[in-house]
């Protein structure tokens, strides 16, 4: 998984579909951005059906992470700099 695996992440949803992950973010987080597949978060390129929703909650980033055998996980990771970078994209 690259550096994401070594980060302190929380799994909000396990084995969900890309649609379920998108709906979860849009339902539970008032602040979110929409990006295209391949968009980089940390050191990974996001996988999914566009548009991919990425939630922001203070310094936490909530995003889908897909693996071929295990489906899509919805991860929640705290990172001040990355949250600021994503938030700046909204402007």
């Amino acid at each position: 998984m690259g550096c994401v695996e070594s980060m302190n992440y929380e799994i909000l949803m396990r084995g969900g579909s890309f649609k379920e992950c998108r709906e979860y973010i849009m339902k539970h987080f008032t602040e979110y951005i929409e990006v295209q597949p391949g968009f980089r978060i940390f050191d990974i390129h996001t996988i999914g059906v566009p548009p991919i929703a990425i939630g922001l909650d203070r310094d936490f980033i909530i995003f889908p992470y897909t693996k071929p055998c295990h489906g899509t996980f919805l991860l929640r990771i705290e990172d001040t700099a990355e949250a600021a970078r994503l938030r700046a994209m909204k402007k």
Partner: protein, 143 residues
């Protein structure tokens, strides 16, 4: 582009497709996770069929960063993650996308494919012939 190898037909059909593409002058490159790639490499030790084999995440990174691209992309799909990878390829690559949909729930998966691609689908789990037949009907190796 290989999916999770838990459905047996993937490895067999991948080798078949590679062979047909090769005979038509294409240079196939395989991208998959470690298990899916290893199944192919072990099955073809002298590399009669296989050429370049790369890690799936690395392939996505290289295409996204415009360091590599392809003319045609065949994405093996038997679960939701497969659809996500195919949609991603459709967004980041200039390749013509073919989705090879198989497994017990292939019809449900096909309903969720709403991006431009050529869908090749069959209920194939252990027996690769239905998917081989569906591929032959489309002849994706034709110019």
């Amino acid at each position: 582009m290989l999916g999770c190898p838990q459905v047996p037909v993937q490895t067999s059909v991948a080798l078949y497709l590679i062979n047909r593409l090769r005979k038509s002058g294409f240079v196939p490159v395989v991208a998959g996770n470690k298990a899916a790639n290893t199944l192919l490499v072990i099955a073809d030790p002298d590399r009669h069929y296989l050429g370049e084999v790369m890690d799936l995440d690395r392939a996505v990174t290289m295409i996204t960063e415009k360091k590599r691209d392809f003319d045609r992309c065949f994405v093996f799909i038997h679960n939701d993650a497969g659809i996500s990878y195919a949609a991603t390829m459709g967004a980041i690559s200039k390749a013509k996308i073919y989705t090879l949909v198989y497994g017990e729930h292939y019809e449900d998966l096909v309903k969720n494919i709403d991006f431009p691609c050529t869908i090749i689908a069959a209920k194939a789990v252990h027996n690769p012939l239905p998917l081989k037949k569906a591929i032959d009907e489309v002849t994706p190796w034709a110019a």
